[in-house]
């Protein structure tokens, strides 16, 4: 499989894991040194172990999560893979109403041991333009 097709397939599996609220499957795509800028918290999350704890807690507090990329773009440069685009992120917390956030995302992967591993992710709310 060509690198770009492999990257697209990996991204689709990442999105599927998020939508299943499967922190185990999701974290299987992460590099040990992943750093995340999540959409709802101002803080950077550093390292696979810390991010997995956060993902497990977030998924446990939600009834459903839907990450719907809008026209995602994929690019491979050497051993680096980048997937970026806009997304609609819909969540139903166990103790609150369904809500949708419109956001931008950049997922950065590095190929290690023949696998695309996510080394950074940055998701941010769509600015209002003001």
């Amino acid at each position: 499989m060509a690198d770009i097709d492999d990257l697209k397939a990996t991204f689709e599996q990442v999105v599927a894991a998020i939508c299943r609220r499967d922190a185990g499957a999701y974290s299987g795509f992460w590099h040990e040194q992943i750093v995340a800028f999540p959409p709802f918290s101002p803080f950077a999350v550093e390292g696979k172990t810390t991010l997995r704890q956060l993902a497990e807690a977030n998924f446990a507090n939600t009834e459903s999560v839907t990450f719907s990329p809008v026209n995602p773009q994929c690019r491979v440069i050497g051993s680096t893979g980048i997937v970026w685009g806009h997304t609609a992120l819909t969540r139903k917390p166990k103790d609150g109403p369904l809500s949708t956030m419109f956001a931008r995302f950049t997922f950065i992967f590095a190929k290690t041991d023949g696998q695309w591993r996510e080394v950074a992710v940055h998701v941010s709310q769509l600015p209002t333009g003001g």
Partner: protein, 130 residues
Amino acid sequence: MSVQEIESLAQQFCDAFNKKDLKKALDMLSDDLEVFDHVPYRFDNKEQFAQFMSGAIESISSMNFGFRQPSCRVFNDDVGIVNAYDAFTGVTKDGKVQTIHGRTTLVFVKQKGQWKIVSAHFSPLPHAGS
């Protein structure tokens, strides 16, 4: 590439903006980079982003842009990633002070013997609890 090189490149990027040396800042960008910034739409190449930055800097008489707590990592010796909090303070030509706190992700890849930014994501700092 070493982590120190990445840190140095990130600082050079800030220094170029602080000197309003747009050419030097743009020289650090790959021609086909993609950028998310503090506007809703994305930039899909250097020319689009250059036009945006040119207009933004033209209205500023002085500015200070810097990274806080940068996390710099190198993968496979051919990609460097910077995740950092950022702080921008600028004074417009009509005397208004603007202060913006945000988060930055930069991806450096070596192209034609030079390290270039191929992806950048700048976003406002989310409000805690939002």
